[in-house]
Symmetry: C2
Subunit: 198 residues, 2 copies
């Protein structure tokens, strides 16, 4: 059985929960106490030296990084290969948004840690970074229903949670009409998994 | 013919040059004047709204992000699929380091921009981030010749340039013996492409 080391309020963990939900793949959650920094304990640093969640275990495979876990699960457990097709051009297009979802959009994640858990980070700079990413996402979605291929892929999953949770970091997304419509489309997909704050 | 919008001194562009060299795939360089910020011009923001290099064009496909370009090229132009195998577990393992190469290791890239081009960034913080990533890389390489699969893949390419160029950002890597040995192994691969500073 797949094991997900998981923190309920983590948008990165939610990426994995979303895909497993869409694929209707069974898994077992191993809750990690993020607030008391259990993911920075010696036990967890032994599994993932980066000290981050999520972590996936499947048989003797252990994977860190939400995007790596999405690539693995969508390659292994989606028989129709809809979420991460094998075509080189499709994989390249999707990878652009895996990088953005694990990169620029994480400014919105960090802003949420400042607002919710008082992390000592520069909120103004994080807001500027998040707005820059969301403005690009919004423009990209002007004439598209989903980020690539005209249908939902792991590109959308990698970018969705911290867009949908941005308000918790004090980021006003009300001007990003195309992004808001896209958030709605993702939420309306069959077998969508919700989380607190969405 | 593949077109690479390229800046000679960019480690991110070098990732793409490295793979194209290893694959012995012909391409055409379109030099971009990074110092005068040509990549932030209206023309380039039209191609890549993130205002970053490299950008690849291949027929009617345009891709931004070094990692996305590596995934595409290694899927399309490596008939033996050695650099990015189709196996789900291999792709997941490699993706971990694509995320790290485009993520934590970019602290070393930013430090280089501070030292070389006087970018107004917090050098101390960048050094700390780079050292954190390199220490993990070094430990990971303790009993491995390459990052995953026991042989060179795009995981190595994504992490290599800013490790090999770290000294230009004032980062002392002399204590990372396993990482230094790995840098040497990558440099000794057939059809390795060098760049100034390496």
């Amino acid at each position: 059985m797949i094991k997900l080391h998981d923190y309920e309020l983590s948008g990165s963990c939610h990426k994995v929960r979303l895909l497993l939900g869409f694929l209707q793949t069974e898994y077992e959650k191993r809750p990690v106490d993020f607030v008391s920094k259990q993911h920075k304990s010696a036990e967890y640093l032994g599994i993932n030296p980066f000290g981050e969640l999520p972590i996936l275990e499947d048989g003797d495979l252990t994977l860190r990084d939400a995007q790596a876990i999405l690539v693995y699960l969508a390659s292994k457990y989606d028989a129709g290969r809809l979420w991460y097709p094998v075509d080189p051009q499709a994989q390249g297009r999707i990878q652009q948004w895996l990088s953005t979802g694990g990169g620029e959009i994480m400014n919105a994640s960090a802003a949420r840690l400042v607002k919710g858990l008082n992390y000592p980070l520069d909120l103004e700079r994080l807001h500027a970074g998040a707005h820059r990413a969301f403005a690009i996402l919004d423009t990209h979605l002007k004439d598209r229903n989903f980020l690539e291929l005209g249908r939902p892929t792991i590109a959308d999953i990698a970018c969705f949670p911290y867009a949908a949770l941005a308000w918790e970091g004090g980021i006003d997304i009300s001007g990003y009409h195309n992004m808001i419509a896209w958030i709605g489309r993702v939420k309306n997909l069959p077998n969508f998994t919700g989380m607190p704050g969405m």
